[in-house]
Symmetry: C2
Subunit: 345 residues, 2 copies
């Protein structure tokens, strides 16, 4: 007794018209007599029929959806407001195009598997490792693709800020204020692979930023290099990194690669009775928290929303068939003054 679903053929039969006529009644009523349209729609109404959008999209060779490939598990990714900001930017563009946004988490722990199964017109990746399986998956699917935060990667259309310059600015601001003992809370995974680790892996934002930090130190003539503590871009990551930092020599300034790490760091420090910025300065990165524990967070604003918007717009261009003239699109960043960075000079 499983009620087979009603199709265009049923409506055609009941109405005495052809499938073509029914299709036209829904999609281009002007190509058919007013009379026929009315009859067909009436019968459709009676039978609670509505054209199946998947069959429709399949037939038309489209999906009406853009994919957002999240770097880690969905749960972790969405805990980072910067990722949410980017998604929001993507979403607002999709909305204006009448597209949905498909959030694509790793499938069976594999990003490549997820790409292979994605039913979308194009994909925006963020913080992606370009391992060979991922490249292979994109190659086979022939899916238009834009990457956020994948500078330095050849042949990838990407959107990001100038991470090296932003990091250089961050470090410079700390050095200008007299800080010399500086710890860096960094990012995990591909992000800290150096350029020559593997030719198929993108160096990622972290190594670009590390170069920026180095350049700043060089300009100040400093040769005691900063120490890095790579952790996930989560509050817990920030806490964990601070624990490790405190078990080493205490720095005067902690530079983080993510506001949410800075949040975790500051909360942990204050719980330990270490005041920010009186005892330790902290700098964020992202520009998503203007206020942390009652203090304005000093940070780099990298306009997540704009990054998302730009990536989505570029992707729509590619889907339309227009290759963008420049592969790398740089979004301007700004340095955000804040109370969490103290002048100790």
């Amino acid at each position: 007794m499983k009620s087979k679903r009603i199709t265009i053929a049923d409506i055609a039969q009941k109405s005495g018209y052809s499938k073509t006529a029914v299709s036209f009644a829904f999609n281009c009523p002007e190509r058919i007599s007013r009379d026929a349209v009315e009859k067909i729609l009436k019968i459709a109404q009676e039978l609670d029929y509505f054209p199946d959008p998947m069959a429709r999209n399949f037939s038309l060779g489209r999906h009406l959806s853009l994919g957002f490939l999240v770097p880690q598990s969905f749960d972790i990714s969405m805990k980072n407001p910067h990722v949410v900001d980017v998604l929001r930017g993507i979403g607002s563009v999709c909305e204006s195009y009448g597209y949905t946004i498909t959030c694509i988490p790793p499938l069976r722990s594999s990003i490549a598997e997820a790409i292979k199964n994605a039913t979308v017109d194009g994909i925006i990746g963020m913080g992606l490792e370009f391992g060979s399986e991922v490249q292979e998956a994109f190659k086979r699917r022939k899916l238009p693709f834009v990457c956020i935060d994948a500078i330095d990667e050849e042949n990838v259309i990407s959107v990001s800020i100038d991470n090296k310059e932003a990091a250089k600015r961050q470090m410079t601001e700390a050095l200008k204020r007299g800080h010399r003992k500086i710890a860096v809370i960094s990012l995990p995974g591909a992000a800290y692979l150096s350029d020559n680790d593997s030719p198929t892996v993108a160096p990622g934002v972290a190594s670009a930023r590390n170069r920026g930090y180095q350049e700043a130190e060089e300009e100040f003539g400093i040769n005691t290099p900063f120490k890095t503590y790579p952790v996930l871009a989560t509050k817990e990551g920030g806490e964990e990194a601070v624990k490790r930092i405190l078990s080493d020599e205490r720095p005067t300034c902690i530079i983080t690669m993510s506001d949410i790490q800075a949040l975790g760091a500051i909360e942990y420090l204050e719980r330990q009775g270490i005041r920010v910025p009186e005892d330790v300065s902290v700098m964020g990165f992202d520009g998503i928290y203007h206020n942390v524990m009652g203090k304005n967070l000093c940070s780099i604003d990298q306009r997540g929303h704009e990054k998302g918007e730009k990536a989505a717009e570029m992707l729509f261009e590619i889907i339309k068939g227009n290759e963008p003239e420049n592969k790398i699109s740089l979004i301007p960043f700004t340095f955000e003054e804040g109370e969490t960075l103290k002048d100790i000079s």
Copy 2:
């Protein structure tokens, strides 16, 4: 010269096997000789072929994606961390099922249109108005459907906290601390339609909460009713409401229906030199901000993540064909003490 895409038929031809064999090679290699599988996969590799997931899903009558129907525009919705929290919960369940999450914004400003075009196996709606077109759209699409925050609505499978009780608790805590001049920052849209406004519209969370506020007042024998200021659940909404509140008689306590409204309210108040809680107390609702301007925000924690998880799990049950025994699933809430609510008794 438009290169037609490679299909299973091309691989069948080149390999000398049938379409069936190619299909089996990818999906159930054990049903075909080892030899055939190898040959077919080799040719597929050479031609950069991979089965089209949309055609696959279409053929199998599934989508491998759950829809998340956002209440307002995507941009506004995602600015509210509570919505993000819910989405995160949905996403983590989808991820474990190997599903993607399709975020569905209104299509051409119409939620009904969006539903009609959604290519998903089921939909989770949040804060939805059940206007007749929306009901009609669901009826026609025969899509499994779970609604978050739609208590009181008959025949809808829903997940929420007990909004009336939560609000009653909120108001009671304010009254217990001696507050008598109380302003309520409420929610917009369907949310403040009373029960008899229209039979096709869900009364929504706001009216349930209003009943809770009233009950609390009655228990305290108060007959000067609280005044409500309905605005969007955004920071800007909170600011706007406070402006209006301040142009009326200044209350001793502002109860909001959303933490993000509370955030906007507190920031605006402090910018005006009005201290929280010394001059005015503020209560949030959601339990997403533990810290606002250096103060612990007093709020109701409604476990957005759990709401999302529960809704997704129920939806997967329905998709499997198991109707849930109880239509309404209540998630427990907790009252969060905080420094923004002062005892003035």
